[in-house]
Amino acid sequence: MNIQSEPEAHGPVYRLLAGVSYGCLVIAGVQLVTLIAIFGWLVWGRYVLNDTPTWVEQLALLLVVWITFLGAAAAVWNKSHLSIDFVREMLPDPLRVPMRWVAVIAVGVFGAFLAWQGWTLAAKTWPRVIPMLGITEGWRAMPMAICGALTVVFSLYHVGELARGDYKITGEL
């Protein structure tokens, strides 16, 4: 089911959130390309310049955290996280409907935890510096907070879909 193929059927809130989700993917994509480029630079530096760029490993670890959480937020919007929903979908409506509500709300609840604890961790680690990079450790926890906040917002929209009765179980993979 490709939801994005019929944008005119959706309101401005949908278009805004879909745009935010796509923006997350694009930023993460730029980060992925950066990740590959700095590894190229690492090998070049070690063999050609005989001067290993010591910041690459730490920057790579930071980038992969950003890619993970930005991509995970977009996957919440697209409903493409891996789930086992065949049990639920086999059950009769009186069971299936509340279970869908539970699943959507539970995702939002965990998103709230991600946002809250990501924020806490970022604040906690702010005074610390990532070795070899010289920037604050807070940058590492920040994407978790962003992912959490977006997960809450996206889940709220999905709750709205459930209430209106136009909730689709699977997005595009």
Binding site: V33, F39, G40, F69, G71, A72, L82, L114
Partner: protein
């Protein structure tokens, strides 16, 4: 009681159709509340679960695989494989197993193997009329070879946890069991293919085979760069993954001229999505694993085993069973570190060599990567193959059996793992 909270939330979340990653995370949160532990500890685990150097290979292999698909390398590779062994019934299944043997022998990561080979072979297999579940099953189970066949960073982890053993011997010990496992899988892949009546193409002749080889060569270089980079010692596995991706960009842009800007953008965005799904699981699973470690679940199981029987055959079977169950629900690296100190002494007391036990551990936990509810390879395979987990698992049993047969042979016949290392002395 704490365990009931943990598994209760996890099970209920899964049952309701929650994403696995979020169910694991929410269950861990429940556990932290129940134990009165500061919540930020759990989320710190989630963060540091992702910040692991060896995991960096995952996005690289996923991206290289995407590029090989989008830029026309994969088609040419498969055309080559089809001209070589396509005349065998279900030939692509066997090709899949064999390429896993070679590819996994390079990457050392079963998940990377699944994503790289899966993104190349699964779409082609589907095109050729293979059922998606079969394509995913073959890809996922054969990727376990990557853990067993050297090099394998999981084996280094085991050597460290076991408190000092020869890593080179351990590496060599993995070769025969890895090949044995692939042999069993190839037989099953062939058998299932025959039963389902998958196509066999006609052998196109040696000239056509030669041309297919030449055309595929620049693409094949991607694998050569990855293998050569590691074997020649120019790069680490992670770096060679990055270089494989860079090479793939160059070949598909300048040699095959199929990598357009939209195709490149598509490859990047798809890689990001796949990477994020896998890494999010790794992240929340590490918070979940923290609670399991805190409740000493693996140790309780260790005591349980030795309390049940003193018959070596039965104890080894029990150990294998417990590892299989744990492998279903926990992360491989964490399990190696936790289970080695518990089960290795038991195995050694039965007269087993620590090297043989290491190989058994790799095969067993490797199988756990292919099983629900927590099986990283299975997840990646299903994402790449666009197949629902329940659909893939429905027909995967014969492939599990193939690995189990190999596992039993390696467990009860020491010669499979110990002959090659013995030659070293």
């Amino acid at each position: 009681m704490g365990l009931a909270v943990l598994f209760g939330i996890f099970g209920f979340g899964l049952f309701c159709g929650m994403p696995v990653a979020f169910a694991l995370g929410l269950a861990a949160v429940g556990g932290f509340f129940y134990e009165g532990l500061p919540l930020f500890i759990g989320f710190q685990r989630i963060l540091s679960g992702v910040s692991v150097f060896s995991l960096l290979a995952i996005p690289f292999f996923i991206f290289a695989g995407e590029l090989m698909m989008q830029g026309g390398i994969a088609n040419r590779l498969v055309r080559l494989a089809a001209s070589a062994v396509g005349s065998l019934r279900g030939g692509l299944g066997v090709v899949n197993v064999l390429s896993s043997m070679l590819f996994g022998g390079i990457s050392g990561s079963a998940v990377a193997d699944t994503s790289a080979l899966g993104s190349i072979l699964i779409p082609v297999m589907k095109d050729k009329g293979y059922d998606p579940d079969y394509a995913v099953n073959v890809t996922v189970t054969s990727s376990v070879a990557g853990v067993v066949i050297p090099p394998s960073h999981n084996m280094i982890l085991y050597a460290v946890a076991a408190g000092g053993m020869s890593v080179s011997k351990l590496f060599i010990a993995g070769i025969v069991p890895g090949v044995l496992m692939c042999l069993c899988l190839a037989i099953v892949a062939y058998w299932v293919a025959v039963r389902r009546g998958y196509p066999a193409e006609t052998f196109p002749g040696f000239k056509a085979l030669g041309i297919a080889t030449l055309v595929a060569l620049p693409g094949l270089m991607t694998a050569v760069i990855i293998v050569g980079g590691v074997l020649s010692g120019v790069m680490t596995v992670t770096e060679s993954g990055a270089f494989g991706a860079i090479w793939a960009i160059l070949v598909t842009t300048f040699v095959y001229r199929e990598l357009t800007w939209p195709a490149f953008k598509n490859a990047v965005l798809t890689s990001v999505r796949t990477t994020a799904l896998v890494m999010m699981l790794v992240a929340t699973a590490s918070a979940f694993s923290y609670m399991l470690a805190l409740y000493r679940v693996p140790e309780l199981l260790g005591n349980f085993v030795t309390g049940i029987s003193d018959n070596p055959i039965i104890i080894l079977l029990l150990i294998n069973l417990i590892l299989l169950v744990l492998g279903m629900i926990m992360d491989m690296a964490a399990l190696i570190l936790i289970c080695t100190p518990i089960f290795l002494p038991v195995a050694v007391s039965l007269g087993m060599d620590p090297i043989q036990f290491g190989v058994i551990l790799m095969m067993n936990l490797g199988l756990g990567l292919c099983t629900p509810p927590v099986g990283a390879c299975l997840f990646v395979g299903c994402v790449v193959g666009k197949v629902r987990i329940e659909q893939a698992v429905k027909t995967i049993m014969p492939f599990y059996l193939a690995i189990l047969v190999a596992l039993m042979l390696v467990t009860y016949v020491p010669a499979f793992s110990m002959t090659l290392p013995g030659l070293m002395e």
